[in-house]
Amino acid sequence: MFLFFSKKALDMILTLVGITFVCFLMIRMVPGDPILLMIGERNIDKAAYEEAKHNLGLDKPVMLQFLDYVKKVIQGDLGTSIVSKAPVWEEFKERFPATLELSLVGLFFATFLAIPFGILAAVKKNTFFDYFLMGGSLAGYSMPIFWWGLALILIFSVHLGITPVSGRIAIEYDVPLATGLYLLDTLSKEVRAAEGFAPFWSALRHLILPSIVLGTIPLAIIARMTRSSFLEVLSEDYIRTARAKGMSESKVIFVHAFRNALIPIVTTLALCFGSIITGAILTETIFSWPGIGKWIVASLTSRDYPAIQGGILIIAFIIVVTNTLVDIIYIALNPRMKSALLT
């Protein structure tokens, strides 16, 4: 067991070092002078150039530069944005809650629908329901979400006028931020005393379309996984035994099958994290959602390399750490795997 965890930890550290190295190299591989790229100016005199070179540590050998970079990253110094002149870490911190809120609501929407859909498809295998749900989920999986988002805006915002087109909350509300998650912050005492529940509803309405768009692909993945996991479990001997005992079908499904089918579903759920981040980049661009996805795309357009480098590094760290945690939780949830590791 200890061996397993240390191997996982070692794997994680190696991947993180690798990612740091790629991000470090990235700026050096971009065509053009890295010094001018990093300070974001074109015409500076020679003294200023040399000073910048020294300040950035670019006059040292590459390996030393990398060690310096790692040291800085560990201390939380990810460089300074060329555009805003603010530390990249601050820029990231400011936008992260928006992406987190969107991702959580999107994932909630996906799971909330996907698990019942998957169970229904498995229980009614090879019927119209099954074909319909699985066909739908394949369509969801194939969905170009950047079009899906625009199509939903067209229907629900332009034609029906139900949902707002962009942003996180109506402009007239000024919500003091505590968590950065608007759904929570709008429920604080002072906001409720001043404005009632109106800001909360506004934040919720702004979340509807983006979270549907973001949740579509995870919804498809989780529904398919739920179906196959259930089919696997439903063919097990203990299910046959439970049925033979005369147990009601709903009890068989929700008590016996559900718990065992849940393990792969939980893993899939956590592994959807990657597609959520990818989705967030596109979704935030469509809905002008002020999160990290939109920030990274904007940084790319303005060639703000320190911001791109720092942003990608943080996202990669989050994903690698999450995946490692998922592996560990998977082992913890699955007694069979645990005993296999112990022997």
Partner: protein
């Protein structure tokens, strides 16, 4: 080998989804190939004054079956040529990633040892970043453009092929036919490419089909973000992105390329998925 493929074809035929997917895939390929014959205008030909006309409009002596875009180009012609771009993108991505991925997978699975460890570590590493994000890193370095987007998407797709083939090789390499080939004195290369590789064909086709759809979708996403094909290339993702600001007044400009992407990606997924089910012996026995 011939028998193998006729068996494969029988398996595919049993699965309606796979057949439907295959039909759409063929239709898409035919349309892409004969695009110059059935398009009315050149993809970048501007018809002066014919701005954002809805589908089925007449303008002077012109007729636009799917309407025109914001600078007066025929949408039907652009979409047809867009199919060519998508076909090119999908094929390139599959050829690059399957070619390199299969070779890496064969070698690392067969030889094992340090080579295997390096390859697996590299693949884990590529998989650590979500595909579009990784592609963004590559495009950030190489600069935006269709070729760079294809390259980026191919690198992102590498691990799928490498891991698939490696697992297949690990399963095959201790089987009697491989050992027999060893005893006959066949060289490692011959064993890898003549004995083991043909037994990996079926999963490889499945992965190629799914890889094609991923490639088209990811390239279109990069196009949409302004990092892929650049105007005036009639690439569907780029067209969609250019049409965004007209969504309220001219929705057909957005919907036509969007639906094209969906249909093509869906048909390749349908085919790949159905084929996988048809080939999976476990599912087959369960009936």
């Amino acid at each position: 080998m011939k028998e193998y493929f006729s068996d494969l074809w029988l398996d595919i035929q049993k699965n309606k989804g796979a057949v439907a997917g295959l039909l759409f895939v063929l239709l898409f390929m035919i349309l892409a190939i004969i695009a110059p014959l059935i398009s009315v205008y050149a993809p970048d030909q501007v018809i002066e004054g014919a701005l954002r006309l809805p589908p089925g409009s007449r303008f002077q002596e012109h007729f636009f079956i799917l309407g025109t875009d914001d600078i007066g180009r025929d949408l039907w012609s652009r979409l047809l040529y867009g199919a060519r771009v998508s076909l090119l993108v999908g094929l390139s991505v599959v050829f690059i990633s399957a070619g390199i991925g299969t070779t890496l997978g064969l070698l690392s699975g067969y030889y094992g040892g340090w080579l295997d460890r390096i390859v697996i570590r590299l693949m884990d590493f590529v998989m650590a970043l979500p595909s579009v994000l990784f592609a963004i890193v590559i495009v950030a370095v190489l600069g935006p453009g269709l070729l760079n987007a294809i390259l980026a998407v191919s690198i992102v797709a590498l691990p799928n092929f490498t891991r698939l083939i490696r697992a297949q090789v690990l399963a095959e390499k201790n089987k009697p036919y491989v050992q027999a080939a060893h005893l006959y004195g066949a060289s490692s290369l011959r064993i890898l490419f003549k004995e083991i590789l043909p037994n990996c064909i079926a999963p490889l086709i499945v992965q190629a089909s799914l890889g094609f759809s991923d490639g088209v979708l990811n390239c279109a996403a990069l196009g949409f973000l302004g990092l892929g094909a650049q105007a005036p290339t009639p690439e569907w993702g780029t067209m969609l992105s250019d049409a965004r600001s007209y969504i309220e007044t001219s929705p057909w400009m957005v919907n036509a390329p969007g639906i094209c992407i969906l249909v093509v990606v869906l048909s390749f997924n349908l085919f790949g998925d159905g084929l996988r089910d048809a080939l999976d012996p476990r599912l087959k026995n369960r009936g």
